[in-house]
Amino acid sequence: MATATVLGAESPDRWRYLNNILNRKGPYTDEAFTPGDEPKAFLADAKILVIGAGGLGCEILKNLALSGFKDIHVIDMDTIDISNLNRQFLFREADVGKSKAEVAAAFVMKRVRGVTITPFNCAIQDKDDEYYKQFKIVVCGLDSVEARRWMNATLINLVDDETLIPLIDGGTEGFKGQARVILPTISSCYECSLDMHTPRAAVPLCTLASIPRQPAHCIEWASVIQWPKEKGDLKLDTDDPEHITWLFTKALERAKEFNIPGVTYSMTQGVVKNIIPAIASTNAIVAASCCNEALKIATTAAPYLDNYMMYTGNESIYTYTFTHEKKENCPVCGNLPQNLEVNPEWTLEGLMERLQERPETTLRKPSLRTSSKSLYLQAPKQLEEQTRPNLEKKLKELMETGDELSISDPGMPFNLRFIITMSE
């Protein structure tokens, strides 16, 4: 039997089945696939990066180690919480408070001999292009839209003649999830599909302030209105049980005043932390699908996913596999600026507020420029002061139809570009 020189270092039999699919062509294998040492060497040498060491991340690290990858990096800035233990199986009660990336890496290395996992207990934004360039594949197991957008845009910005790093992204929510393969600039990117995520409808402030009807309204009133009012500058820490208890007590009082039933501690936590239900089984499904794609991309032993698989498990088992189309005017992977119709009577501040409401722009502190001048800059302080008077000005004083408006924001690793059309 052909034995891998690289994979079989531990024992000739350990990777027998994996080797079988690398040593033998299958009926669906691409013409270009050369069975034997070539795919094995690639697996052994390729550096692969895992973003997130949580519910998906734990699974992904295990799966990649058992797929024959030998050099894995993992980035996660979180520490282990008690509520992680129902699914993040590399952690034990004694690990609560420790770095997720470090504990997860150590565990998998101990269990699976011959794999090296390098953990980083930091934010993805702390790493530069040079760092990301060393990887052949990036697998994302994140629960944050913002971090995904950053990673997606970063890998797209890295594309040049020599670099094209596939991004494999997984996400779950309760019994639902998705796995997808993004080939930067070639296939649809994370930003292209952003409108598939409908943001949770915000409750109007006046409902919270004067006409609450639901227990959630009372809880939001406590956190959005009463906390700043009574606690001043003290920052609300949703991980601090005392803070949650305070909100719960306030919400309960408010609910009593309006005869609203149903405020519970658990609901208080759920609302203020925006808790998404999470279980081991869904994470297992999505992570395994992501890693199966990583193995296929790395070895070409079988065609990889083009490019999206959605999965739902609350009623029977249902998957939908399809090609998500690239968006022509995608602000990240497309090259055309989008059209933006504005009213010349709006103030610059009014325009900023409207932009913030758009689902595809999660702007927090945007800076705005046209090609000829800076309209408003958040930093440095001096420029902020200089441009601040523009906020009051009407758009007709600042720009005209055909101008290109460029918006940058610390929350986005790319600029949004718009072509302005003035209309009444």
Binding site: M1, W15, L66, N86, A280, L295, K296
Partner: protein
Amino acid sequence: MHINCLWTTWPTLSRIYSYSMSIPGAPTAKEKKYDRQLRLWGAAGQEALENAHILLVNATAAGTETLKNLVLPGIGRFTIIDDAVVKDEDLGTNFFLDDNSIGLSRAQKTCELLCELNPDVQGDHIKDNITNFIHTNPEKLKTFTTVIITGDVPISTLLSLDNLLYTLDIPLFVLKCVGFTMTCRLALSEHAIVETHPDSTVDLRLLKPFPELVALYEEKAAIMDDKEKMSEHDHGHIPYVVILLKALDDWRSTHGGNIPSNYREKNEFKSFLRGKMWNADEENFEEAIAAVLPYFNPPSIASTTKEIFEDKKCTQLTATSSNFWIIARAIKNFAYDDNEGILPLPGALPDMKAESKDYIRLQNVYKAKARADLASVMEIVRVLLSGLGRDPNSISESDVETFCKHAGFARLTRVRSLNEEYEHNPKVKTVSNELSDPTSLMHYYLGIRAYEMFISEESNSKHTPPGIDDSTAENDAEQLDQYVTVILDKLNIAHSPELLEGTSKAVREIVRVGGGELHNISSLAGGLVAQEIIKVITKQYIPMNNTVIFDGISSRSQVYEL
């Protein structure tokens, strides 16, 4: 008293105690650990998991991954039965074995490493093979809540196990993972689900308002269109339920007493509503317009609920009928004997633009009606129980309440046995309809069935899988092709080489890996199967019926009833 003393002495301690003891509803340690899943299946679901005892036959990668996903959420107990010793190739696919496990019992080592995941869970192992076990200890099967069987088990054993478990009403999951292919078959004689978790249980009864609701809206109706009597603010805060009831009344008076019934009329009705707005930004009217399509349906009983009502177990209660059937019968009697064929009101009310007090009042009207319906059903339950010679209070009100809330969404599923599929009553059409589609996953089903025949062959006493050697792999594949034709002949399905092109490819993909698992596919299978087991054990959500196939090459799945 003592605690009070402590509090004055150690203020930090008092802070901790006051958090965990004096706040009603603050989570316990267990609630904290399981918080993210309790939000899906609640305390009742969790309790069901904790009372469950799972049997895993053969600690393959897929089998241990399945158990991992059950141990983590806190299943009560599991037992692994396996007579294999750990080999090197196990370590390349199974995460719950390590270098120190080689040469030792696979049942024991996987059990040990799985137990590390959750101290709440009890794990046991039996060093035996299942064929032997069901001959020597068939009565022991009764102690298990659910059985999962994986690995290369001969067909005769699968069918005997299915026979035993089906009559015991114990769910059986037959799981196969070979290379990029995974199949899982569930056999379960009867499964009744109350909490199916529909997106919404809201029933506003707009077309058939009950008297209390009519009384509430009539109060407002008189002044609703009168700018003298109602302020603009108040008009913008009329709950949309009231708006719709009033508009319906007006509509009826100009449409011969009829309601808007088809799509066109519903659209006209929307315009009619728009005409009643006082200004363009009355959100409550926008909400009313949006509610026309989803909520303008006369009360009716879903076919899935009717199936339950018409079942013999519902029409012919006995002294040993389960609570499910007694409550189902009570609800049936309630609907048909006393309530014009209308189910008990679930009582939920969606949020809507309104003053707090008006909304709460409306909510209370729905809730009171739901409670009244519940009381009637409860009374019928008691009468039924007495009639059966049972304690009239032996069914709790909360169980009846849950059923009343979900009466329109409850499900009864009978999942066919493996023996029906393989022997007495195969689903010929389901198989033959799929064959002509080269992308159908049915080809993998046939490939796996042929694989089973290969390892079950009498001459293959060690159940050696196909494709273990490069040199004989193609011979083995041809043998599997042969078995496929045997299966199809038995089903009387005509076939030709062209028709079987897809199957032939599936067979070669299955043979390619040499009978082993790829970790990713086994891990995915472990997720899918654990999820189905959780649904079955908690009796919440709807499980698949009855075979799921996943193809890791095209990343697609398909469920067939076979």
